[in-house]
Subunit: 217 residues, 2 copies
Amino acid sequence: MTQERRGRGRPARRAADEGPGARERILQAARDEFAERGYDKTTMRGIARAAGVDAALVHHYFGTKDDVFAAAIEVSFEPAMVVPQILGQGPAGIGERLARFFIGVWENPATRAPLLAIIRSALTHEAAAKVLRGFVLRRLLERVAGELDVPDPRFRAELAASHMVGIAILRYVIRVEPLATADPEEIIRIVAPTLQRYLTESDPDSPATSGGAGTGS
Amino acid sequence: MTQERRGRGRPARRAADEGPGARERILQAARDEFAERGYDKTTMRGIARAAGVDAALVHHYFGTKDDVFAAAIEVSFEPAMVVPQILGQGPAGIGERLARFFIGVWENPATRAPLLAIIRSALTHEAAAKVLRGFVLRRLLERVAGELDVPDPRFRAELAASHMVGIAILRYVIRVEPLATADPEEIIRIVAPTLQRYLTESDPDSPATSGGAGTGS
């Protein structure tokens, strides 16, 4: 509170509070804290301490703990970058680009840790699930869905996302073999056609793209 | 320890301890306890109390807490029933049967709660992840894989499982819309061809079944 009024009556601050780097330091600290402690045990005070700033500055920049959590998630996904990167090149090959992007994020320990923290938090705390649902999945998926030319584009985007989330859990968290040590390229090769089908085919009921009789129905 | 010797020196027991129903009552209590409290906070003593038996009887039937956890998981999956039900009818339609089975398990609140508890526990406690990895996924997936006529059958079975796990998380835990309220039949319809491809096609790289490699084999 009263973040605007500085100086008098406030605890002494370090110079680190100021400057354009503070916001980024807070976000980085938040990601580390959420990744390490989980949603429940992370506090605004702890984030501030890790970032070397006053807790009031964290409030000033982000608002509540949920808002910091959402911002930390957003940095991990970077939808502003992700969406054009995957969708910008048109529908051909979109399945492979999406698979490659997700696997790449998960293969990188620096981005894997915060994502794991997010998923763990969302699975165990309704407050975190709500943030994930509202701020990110919705925003990210809606933007992806907005670019798709299929019926129920959000549903399709969620099906694609669900597959990538499930692979992440079995490969990186539960670590079932052989999936846990499979070559990332092998995973991308097999999963890409699935994502391609969900995101671009108007009748995903038939695995054959052709006109002829599909499998189901 | 010394479960064999009863009577002298042991705390008084209730009649409920005996009889063929005790094992089932313990399992049911274990599922409830794990579902309600999570892996970490569930104790052998708490399970015994909920089942109305002596803690020594829980040890006698199951061994350690991890063993009880594994047994509770196994009851949820019931691999002995699942595997013939899904695989027994040959490769045609296996994708739809698997999708239908998984969605059915998740749609039923009685089986959903323990499964959620298992996944939550495995995501937050390495001990629980190890049990899930070792006892169940391996056993269930190995049996499924043993019936498949594709290269890397376990890898394929895990990819199929990963999709169902991811759908469960997005639909039932994080509850993103429209997936959260989608008609189960619609999910089955779209996902079945993916599972079919993973479990039966020798070259899942090409979404079109055409070419030489037939589906069934």
